[in-house]
Symmetry: C2
Subunit: 198 residues, 2 copies
Amino acid sequence: MTAPRRIAFFAFPGTEELDFVGPWEVLSAWAHNWRDDAIECIAVAETTEPIRCAKGLRILPDCTWDDAPEFDILVVPGGRGTRPLLERAPTLARLRKAADANKLIVSVCTGALLLAKAGLLDGKPATTHYESLTLLGELGRDVDVRPEARFVDTGNIITAAGVSAGIDAALHLIVRLHSVGRAREVRRYIQYDPSPPV
Amino acid sequence: MTAPRRIAFFAFPGTEELDFVGPWEVLSAWAHNWRDDAIECIAVAETTEPIRCAKGLRILPDCTWDDAPEFDILVVPGGRGTRPLLERAPTLARLRKAADANKLIVSVCTGALLLAKAGLLDGKPATTHYESLTLLGELGRDVDVRPEARFVDTGNIITAAGVSAGIDAALHLIVRLHSVGRAREVRRYIQYDPSPPV
């Protein structure tokens, strides 16, 4: 039995609910239903106080950054709470540190703005929520902004488009970490045969 | 300004995360971004203690059933936590009371099992997570189980298929309560152009 691969989800005030829970559902369903794959998901935040998400739901982090166990993958959701974080040096330093340590970073929606501000998207292709595409380009240097992409995988960084795109990016992550077969099984479990009625 | 239409989301231990947050995102994004539509979403539970969801995320209810303000619509998510609730008379009585008061009830995934056990699906078409279709038929009387439906709308009750289907059902609910146009705007906001990579 190998050590589990741990996936840390960054929770902050103003996190967009589905940005966080879309990938959480995909990856934690994988973790719970296929225990031998040794995947673990944790919610990490500045403090363990309840976090009020962008649309009002309150969630509880599992641990603080200081208490967090080692992790391999970092999920950075978006939401209006990213805007104040763009000016928060310790948050940007944390993202740079994760990248320097070769952790795989997955942003959803405007989570990509934080990666851009931290300099992690300089010269790279990336995407974000459709309303923030211009800002994404302004925050980084020579970011190759991809308006049409559902998600962009550069190897060490995956950026997903707005809100619901995190579900697709998380399924892609299972392909990378395990197999197409497992990703299909998880897709089946969450019955992800989308059929938007409008 | 009319009184807001209030949508209560039932939170219980073992709620499947995306069953809850899929419709929450859709309906609370509607509420927050189009204030004049006077929609309000609240998370209601037995107690205000933190709730551990099926895949480990902890959420905080806004109020208890006893403290809850009047609501018009009740969302009943699924998850393994529904199984003990099938034997909990007060929960089933609460669902019957909501139906008797002509509230619109929307189940996601195995939330439909609770409606069936409460007798609310007798003689009606309904759906649920694909693994629970047989059980759904057994719990009610003459339930017309629809394995292929993404969601089924009987007028007073909407039942959605597994997990991610709650997103589609919630968009349908916006059509019913407001318009196709508004549902499309919310769909655009959450950038719901699903593109499953597997």
